[in-house]
Amino acid sequence: MSLLAEMNEKALKLGVPISVHLDVTYRCNERCVHCYLDHDDHGEMTTAEVTDVLEQLADAGVFFLSLSGGEVLMRRDFFEIVERARQLRFNVKIKTNGVMIHQKEAARFRELGVEQIQISVYSHLPEVHDAITKLPGSLKRTIRAIRFLKSQGLKVTIANVLMAGNFSDQAGVIALAKELGAHYTLDPTITPKMDGDRSILALRIPGSALKQVFHNPDLVGNVEEFCAPPPPAGEDIMEGHPCSAGHTACYISPYGDVFPCVQFPLPSGNLRRQKFLDIWRHSPQLNEVRSIRAKDLPTCSTCSHVGTCTRCPGLAFMEGNMRGPSTADCEKSFQRTGIPSANMLLRTGSIHASPLIQIQCLS
């Protein structure tokens, strides 16, 4: 077991929130077509409030801190926040679109010892990227920012959200990342807006494109292994929990609201009224999330993918039931292995098919 895995296991055992994602603002200078946020400011935490939250998080044992938004640099006090976070010895990762980063900002991030900066790039073609961000000239500015950051020796990751409109540019973004000396990560997940509006889900890539992604050795490594049929789930799987949300990680909004995860909009407390540790330890919502084991999932526990599925409980929650399936992940499991999920079979009336018959669907 790696040291990091050992640390995660220990944090889980001790109930320590080892990772927190803090959105410092929802304001943004881009208007990305797939964004799930409301960009108006409904009363962000002040500098003093954010600083107090950081101190509480340090006391609670948080080690990995992701600062994101919105666009983080829309806050004039952002460097003050990062400076305090580093004084408190967090491992800091920043997510940004980069358009406000110049030499001076890049140098400051290096001085402060920021671990990694993740920047969204949707295409290597300005006309495609800028059409998604709705900010003319944004790709040019983002690439310039990456060069500034790299010149400071900082670690930069290009995050490539895949949608129907930019799927064909994926190889171009990979080549751009290589040219810039940046890491590359892709994400084919489009989530509903935080207000529940599901219209942006129409931007998702089709199943056939997802299949291409999962069968691309440059992205997944060993395709045979990655796309192998799931092994039978043992007791350890059925007694396991779905992901780190609420167990060793949580999300905090610019208004101080605490949620199990950025993709899991279950309000669990507010830091303007409660202390972080009180919410983390005693929130009925977080405790409910923590109580769920794979065996408790009515449909998913009967699914052959239960042990290998990337099922997101937050997406399931947004579909109406945190114990239910997340259809986006059912689709991923299907496109990866060719084996339909229990939820897919249920929808087509074939839930009682035996595992043997499910395997026959492959051919």
Partner: protein
């Protein structure tokens, strides 16, 4: 033998998990210090000599042989200084900002 003064580097991330210290160095190498090593790291204020940390803290709080504790502490400090996790000097590191201690 000259005294050694040790101070925590400010260029890293660190947090106590239970009794063990998690550390991520500036080059993203991850370390976990055991309970004794964590106690030395936390006491590394740049002003207290290593020998005093070992005699006054480690030998008092842990069931260790004094001679062995000094040898282990020397080795531990040498190793961590190679990764720039601990700064080592034969004089007090008085300019080092040791305020951010052991959260």
């Amino acid at each position: 033998m000259a005294e050694k003064y040790i101070a925590r580097s400010s260029a890293l991330a660190a947090r106590l998990l239970g009794s063990e210290m998690m550390i991520m160095s500036a080059d993203s190498t991850f370390f976990m210090l055991n309970e004794v090593a964590s106690a030395i790291w936390q006491a590394a204020d740049g002003l207290t000599p290593l020998s005093e940390i070992v005699d006054g803290k480690i030998c008092q709080e842990f069931d260790v042989n004094q001679e062995q504790a000094h040898r282990d502490a020397e080795r531990f400090v040498d190793e961590l200084s190679q990764y720039c996790i601990l700064l080592v000097s034969d004089k007090p590191l008085i300019e080092f900002p040791a305020a951010q201690v052991s959260r």
